[in-house]
Symmetry: C2
Subunit: 325 residues, 2 copies
């Protein structure tokens, strides 16, 4: 048993009571400075302590790790997440999953990390992914559909995560086209599907899902404070990340099977019901320049149909949507 | 000047006449065995000699290298091929171009190799790419269109290469859907567009083009003899690879610009005019199983429309086409 575990044992044995530094140093036969160093290490690992002069230390919060065995037991899926790689830290779960896919990893392989040091969003933007606070994960897919149907899979993934968030946490997130999750206009989850194809044959696709689960307001850098929120902030309490990951995999697998059997129509209906984009006045940065109009519906391919000011309907497949007030 | 060049100088000085091994060994001050070794080295490098007992050696054919400077001078394009990497040998120009694209290489960057040791075709199949005999090249593209339009770019690339082949060599190759080039049912060129995308944003696309330019019948392994042919075999003489590469880049750039300005309609017309698939009875291995019917036309998205036996029209985006007689 390591020194660190013994210190923890001591504090966990009496979670309500303070244990003085003196007592700790005596019982562990280490110096007071060594105790203080241990406490700091545990803080870095996600433990929270209350420290009161003349009383000592009391444990306030344990880090809740994403435990591989617990997650595997919680998953009710056949493939999604059943091949699982849980990492303490990684540059990017997306890059990790890509490497696994290139090496032949089967559909459903899931990479989860407690921390990403180089997490990425759309267009090479950084994705803020601090340790132990969020759900940073990437799912390997090998869809049988031609590349042409990727917009549908993008929308499907958004629906799956949105349903899992609502069901597990009660937070009524909505979908901003194509697949961001918002709560009252603030981003709570980003999804990015990266695909590698030969002509129309999709070699693999990686669904990257970043959920701001248990971030506190102070965790966000200044530039994100006004545009981002977390499930903990919205729900008023921390969320169980393992339950949420399992729910997301379950929703995904159910919808993916429905899609393979019934096509895109039922997915489109579900997306439209969860959308915060439809009916709004939006500006989309399309290749030909920005287009403004009313977001009307999805077309059968998965494009967002914009009703333009001249009355024409324009289906758009890509571009950032700006919701106008 | 190296020994090798001196031997070459000697033989090139009198291309019609035989030079005896004795004379060579005397003039180069090397042994007869050294002369024979030099000749073999030159043979490996692509030179062809006639060797007649008691007469000596005569040069019959020089290797025609793809020379970077000559190619750059021949290119009449603004971007396609203007960033150029010519390699003596590589595992795969496709992998080379991908690495360049990941590192930020601009649109139009072209990788050409005299030889590929691990050239690849569709679905991980090997692509036979012997040294100095073909055009093995990969072009980096960064199309502004969403991923949804990739089938159109696949067809465009086929049209460009087909037009370049016809114009430069007179060989009347035709397009098998989506973008193989055939002459009398035998494959003369394969094209493979690999794309890397984030949702609908195409990070880059690599157009891999393999043209069997100057292969002789004996160059082909047995399993390819009945299904493949070369421009040299069909034209009856070797083709100038530099001219053909330059023509392909020129045709590509012209069509790519036309496509950006006018959309897919003119590209579809050109493809249909060069097609050997339309009007034929075909079987397409679609995701839902094989579909047989008459290849009718392209639809506005670039799908091949199959008129099925029950009278329904089915647009297909992917699958191997088998032409039925």
């Amino acid at each position: 048993m390591s020194e660190k575990e013994t210190l923890l044992d001591l504090l966990l044995a009496s979670p309500q009571e303070f244990v003085s530094g003196e007592e700790i140093s005596r019982r562990l036969s280490v110096s007071r400075t060594a105790v203080w160093k241990q406490i700091n290490k545990l803080r870095e690992a996600g433990y929270e302590f209350e420290a009161v002069p003349n009383k000592g230390y009391r444990i306030v919060n344990k880090p809740v790790r994403i435990d591989t065995l617990t997650l595997l037991k919680t998953l009710k899926t056949n493939i999604a997440g059943k091949k699982l790689k849980v990492l303490e830290t990684t540059v990017s779960t997306q890059e990790e999953a890509k490497a696994l896919a290139e090496a032949g990893a089967p559909e459903g392989t899931l990479v989860v990390a407690e921390e990403q040091t180089g997490g990425k969003g759309r267009l090479g933007r950084k994705w803020f992914s601090p340790k132990g606070k969020g759900i940073w994960m990437s799912l390997v897919l090998r869809p049988k559909q031609p590349l042409h149907y990727m917009p549908q899979l993008t929308l499907l993934t958004g629906v799956a995560v949105c349903r899992a968030v609502r069901r597990t946490t009660g937070v009524m997130a909505g979908l901003k086209w194509p697949n961001d999750l918002l709560v009252d206009g603030r981003k709570i989850c980003g999804i990015l599907l990266e695909s590698a194809a030969e002509d129309e044959y999709v070699r693999y696709c990686i669904a990257g899902i970043g959920i701001s689960a248990n971030l506190d307001p102070d965790d966000y850098p200044d530039e994100l404070k006004s545009v981002a929120t977390s499930l903990k902030i919205e729900a008023g309490h921390p969320v169980d990340r393992v339950q949420l990951i399992a729910a997301a995999m379950e929703e995904f697998e159910t919808l993916y099977r429905l899609y393979q059997q019934e096509g895109f129509a039922p997915i489109a209906s579900l997306w439209e019901a969860l959308s915060v984009t439809l009916g709004k006045r939006v500006t989309v940065g399309a290749a030909s320049g920005p287009v403004t109009g009313q977001a009307l519906k999805l077309d059968p391919h998965g494009a967002l149909v914009i009703l333009m000011e001249d009355g024409r309907e324009l289906p758009v497949f890509s571009g950032d949507v700006e919701l106008r007030r």
